[in-house]
């Protein structure tokens, strides 16, 4: 069976510091991978998605970037965090077909607080 991991679970960072959140998937190969942000406990916003190694699509221009250095690894980064980057970050995966938006399965999330 497939599992998806995210770490850290919680993170408190000062404004201006860098960020690296990691997501890994087990039990499948060549998945589609996604990063979402959820602010104020409501509504998920798609930030990035990837259909393969090194292939990143950005949905919303912002202070964040994503990378996919390995098939089942997806990283969300920032060089300098802003207060507005606070939120709950969720990674998701779906099976790879021609459709990048198949049924998605979510990880446990990382709660980020920027002070």
């Amino acid at each position: 069976s497939q599992t998806i991991h995210q770490w850290p679970a919680t993170l408190v960072q000062p404004v201006g510091s860098p960020l690296s959140l990691e997501c890994t998937v087990e039990g499948t190969s060549n998945p589609n991978l996604y990063w979402y942000r959820q602010a104020a406990g409501r509504g998920l916003q798609l930030l990035f998605y990837s259909v393969g190694i090194g292939q990143i699509s950005s949905e919303v221009p912002q202070n964040l970037s994503a990378s996919r250095p390995q098939d089942r690894q997806f990283i969300l980064s920032s060089k300098k965090l802003l207060l507005s980057d606070s939120g709950f970050y969720l990674c998701a995966w779906s099976r790879h077909t021609g459709n990048p938006y198949n049924e998605q399965f979510f990880g446990p999330g990382t709660r980020l607080t920027v002070l």
Binding site: Q38, G41, R42, G43, L44, Q45, L46, E59, F88, L90, A92, N99, Y101, N102, E103, Q104, F105, F106, P108, G109, R111
Partner: protein
């Protein structure tokens, strides 16, 4: 792009009651999913239902794609059903609704 609206935004029910949550979308969609977000933030897949009706225990869902809505039914509610229910619709992008916050009282 597609708009997704969920109703009601908040719902408080007594344990054992039934409920219907609605998801309206503004254009035709390729896929539609229902999720339950528990109090710890975990998003749990409930249904992947671009059309038709599916049932899983006390939960069922119906999507009428031609009329651009989907319904989630919860029967005999339990306190563990509390949380936020999201629908997500996809045309060329996936768009989440703002959710329905369900609180089941013991």
């Amino acid at each position: 792009g597609i708009q997704v609206e969920q109703s009601p935004p908040d719902l408080i029910l007594q344990e054992g009651a039934n409920s219907t949550l609605r998801c309206n979308f503004s254009d035709s969609v390729n896929n539609l999913q229902w999720f339950h977000q528990n109090p710890w933030g975990q998003l749990i897949n409930l249904f992947y239902i671009p059309s038709g009706t599916k049932q899983n225990g006390r939960l069922s869902a119906t999507t009428v794609a031609t009329e651009r809505y989907s319904l989630l039914y919860i029967s005999s509610s339990q306190t563990t059903d509390s949380g936020v229910y999201f629908c997500a619709a996809q045309d060329d992008k996936i768009i989440f609704g703002k959710g329905t916050r369900l609180h089941i009282l013991p």
